[in-house]
Amino acid sequence: MISFVQDTTQTGTGETTAYDSVWAHTGVPVQQPKGFEQVMLSEDKLYVVLAVVLIIWFGIVFFLFRTDRKIARLERSVEKGIPVEHPDHG
């Protein structure tokens, strides 16, 4: 495990603490960004925010689809008069 947390007691000046770049480039192996990573880091990393929003969006959509599938299964059971299965398995 690489430590990314700056010792704020020594270099912290209030405004530049744990999230400043002062510490990040010390002792950390630096690989040059290329390809997809370069895209993600462009525009001041705005695309990282887009990625995060998309992850949440797809997570919610995934959940909606699961609910939808449960509804469809229940509909089929009710129409055919088949006993409904365990509530947790639907």
């Binding site: 690489i2 744990a18 950390v28 993600m40 609910t67 229940l74 409904v84 509530p87 947790d88």
Partner: protein, 234 residues
């Protein structure tokens, strides 16, 4: 209300409000100008998305454990349905919180290292917490008798809930972490621009709203299903 059913009128109105509200939050999240800070740059905006995931997990689990406790008081299966649905949606938000955190860290603090996971204490504890809740659903699926399942699940749920403050809030603050919190506030660090709170708090409310919609949908479905099962008590 005597029976803890679903208020459909409230649900339909809330649906509209949540959609409008979240649209405004999304616009503000991207359009509001924020001070530039190193490493984070625009990703500071993830405060509006990543952090509310965990607030929603916590809120959802409070809803879940509330219904579990109520079930143990009066064995009404609607309580069990609500506890399970709330936990399920809460876990969804937990997984989203974990995933967004991984992506966020990879392109900021871990940039240049190629790392996706570096055992940040809070992140690891959150993963453990989600596994504990995974156990809740495994337990549920192994018991067929509804009343017995509800009782066992309620007891386990209380145990799982009790571990959460320690795993997510107490322990990570004792260790070196990228997450703020050691200073006292779990969401903000000293360099979080005050203006960001104007979007952050509405974002939390909006995600609570989304949680409530997804949760209510599941509750409605489960109640219909239980009626179809012929459970006269419902």
């Amino acid at each position: 209300m005597a029976r803890p059913g679903v208020n459909l009128k409230l649900y339909r109105n809330a649906r509209v409000i949540v959609v409008v509200w979240m649209t405004a939050v999304l616009l503000a999240a991207f359009l509001l100008r924020i001070p530039r800070i190193h490493i984070l740059e625009h990703t500071a905006r993830n405060l509006y998305f990543h952090v509310p995931m965990w607030f929603t997990l916590m809120a959802g689990m409070i809803v879940s454990v509330y219904h579990s406790i109520r079930y143990l008081g009066t064995p009404d299966l609607v309580r069990d349905v609500r506890a399970a649905a709330a936990a399920r949606v809460a876990v969804l938000f937990g997984l989203l919180g974990l995933t967004t955190g991984i992506v966020w860290a990879h392109y900021t603090w871990y940039q240049g290292t190629g790392l996706w996971w570096n055992f940040d204490p809070k992140q690891s504890m959150a993963a453990v917490e989600l596994l504990i809740y995974g156990g809740y659903f495994v337990l549920r699926s192994t018991i067929d008798d509804p009343q017995k399942r509800a009782r066992m699940a309620a007891v386990y749920n209380i145990f799982a809930f009790v571990t959460m403050p320690f795993l997510l809030y107490v322990l990570p603050r004792q260790m070196e972490s990228l997450h703020p919190g050691a200073e006292g506030n779990p969401a903000f660090s000293q360099i979080t621009a005050p203006i960001m709170r104007a979007v952050f708090y509405p974002a939390i409310i909006g995600f609570f709203g989304i949680f409530w919609l997804l949760y209510t949908q599941r509750v409605r479905l489960a109640l219909i299903k239980q009626r179809a099962l012929g459970d006269v008590e419902l």
